[in-house]
Subunit: 308 residues, 2 copies
């Protein structure tokens, strides 16, 4: 199924940078571009599982909204983006893939003011083998998390609804977790309210109600899927500020992300949740999520045999 173009093996992934397709190892960003050098870029990631995209339109819609907020206008339309992502997955032959779309600002050319208003926007996308943010084993026994001392970058400085690479606080929190023997760390804002973790949204379960933070977070597509599943399963859910106290006292905690779906937590700092195992509601949501995915829920199947 894997295409071999010019004798190149695309099975490890494929990339598209500024109009050109490349094997993933050759998909690169110019070192002088502001998309890298000033992290002046937004992105989105859509998952492919069972040979189909999940909520492709939702990801492209969010990606376009992010680009608009940063005043990034690449030449490609939304339909072009869908076509490019499909071509990337088809080239790679991957049935399970992590598919990213980035829009970067280049650097103004000579003779133009040295200001982002004059930098051209372009797309860089790729498909690589599926990434599990936490392994299947970690998901089965529950992720070991802690609360980071590093506060999340405030929304007034960098808008978290524009998916971005400003991960300095998240990376610092990841090292805090590593040093303390945990796998990850969730971050609070400067007022002590829960935000998100490195690569995922956070949910708590309090008295049978699923609660997720209102502000200071990415409006995750998998987060939306959790709300949809709650509605379908008749589980109450809320979006509101969550204090540190509510987080540490919650009956259960779980994460959501494209790179793994719904991931239960079994430890939060010193606290052992649900006998050190995923809680029943988290497990039910996780299992329902994957069962529905298998059945083609909100899927855009990929025709691997089509011509580009």
């Amino acid at each position: 199924m894997t295409e071999s173009l010019n004798g190149t093996d695309w099975s490890k992934g494929s990339g598209y940078v500024d109009g050109q397709f490349h094997p993933i190892a050759e998909a690169k960003i110019p070192i002088t571009d502001w998309g890298y050098r000033r992290s002046d870029v937004t992105y989105d990631v859509v998952g492919v599982y069972y040979g189909a995209f999940f909520r492709l339109d939702d990801h492209i819609r969010r990606f376009r909204a992010s680009m608009d907020k940063l005043r990034l206008k690449p030449r490609e339309s939304d339909e072009d983006i869908a076509r490019i992502l499909t071509a990337l997955v088809r080239k790679s032959g991957l049935r399970e893939a992590y598919v990213a779309m980035d829009c970067l600002r280049g650097k103004p050319g000579p003779g133009v003011p040295y200001h982002p208003a004059f930098g051209r926007a372009y797309l860089a996308c790729f498909a690589i083998p599926w990434v599990w943010l936490f392994t299947q084993e970690q998901q089965a026994r529950g992720v070991h998390a802690m609360i980071a001392s590093t506060p999340r970058i405030p929304a007034e400085s960098v808008d978290p609804t524009v998916k971005n690479f400003h991960w300095g606080d998240l990376t610092k929190a990841s090292f805090e977790a590593f040093d303390a023997g945990f796998e990850t760390a969730v971050l609070l804002d400067r007022d002590g309210y829960l935000t998100e973790g490195p690569g995922y949204n956070v949910f708590v379960v309090i008295d049978g109600v699923v609660v997720s933070p209102l502000r200071g977070v990415l409006e995750g597509v998998t987060r939306q899927s959790v709300f949809d599943l709650c509605a379908e399963l008749g589980v109450s859910h809320q979006v509101r500020p969550i204090s540190r106290g509510e987080l540490t006292q919650a009956d259960a905690v779980f994460f959501s992300t494209t790179a793994g779906g719904i991931m239960p937590v079994s430890r939060l700092g010193a606290r052992i949740l649900g006998n050190d195992r995923p809680g029943p509601l988290s497990t039910r949501l996780r299992e329902t999520f994957w069962a529905k995915r298998r059945q083609g829920w909100l899927a855009t199947p990929i025709d691997y045999d089509a011509a580009d």
Copy 2:
């Protein structure tokens, strides 16, 4: 003087990525590396003017301190870095160059935990023709700046003394300035104290004293040069918090950066400073700075004819 290697013109710049030299157009970052994808990277920029580096050791020392703080350990020693930067300038033949050194975290390989503790660090450096953050004309008549409404990312979230590409707030401020007809914008912290601007440190002159913010800023090498010049010229200088009121009431304002030296400001929002011209002290510092640079102040001359 410009080397031509394999028939390639290096005059537009030269790069070094993970052990390999390239013409600048081929110096690129893998799209999947966390140095780009999570902005998990630190950098430094040293200027070359009159065929010599300025304060090369200071830049490499700060770069090493930044790498240590992010737990980035590339294979190259400080001496290696000096050699690489020298080779880059020599290859390009540039007498005036903007010379950058980045240290990025790659992505953990297969079978390794998906955590930054397991990502390999590597260097990416380049030399390109000298960059003026503000044109000579803008410097001569004074830069037109405003105070951004976007607050600077707090130091507790991302340490500003570790030179970084978390420019989302700075870019947003640049667009605020653009929309309001200014060339740039300085940022305050969330408590209303002056921090820095996109690519430069800020100074105010109050009653003949040169004052620069204490916290929430990069410890700029050119900022240090301003302190050194003040000492030499017998001008009092202070490093302390500067309130919005002190900023807006200051007698003069100027910026400092590697990419331009000392740059006077003539407008700050609605306020016209010094009859819409650079103030006498800012001008004196700027002229002294360049006069001393021409005389080889803290310079490391480049032997353009040496073999690599």
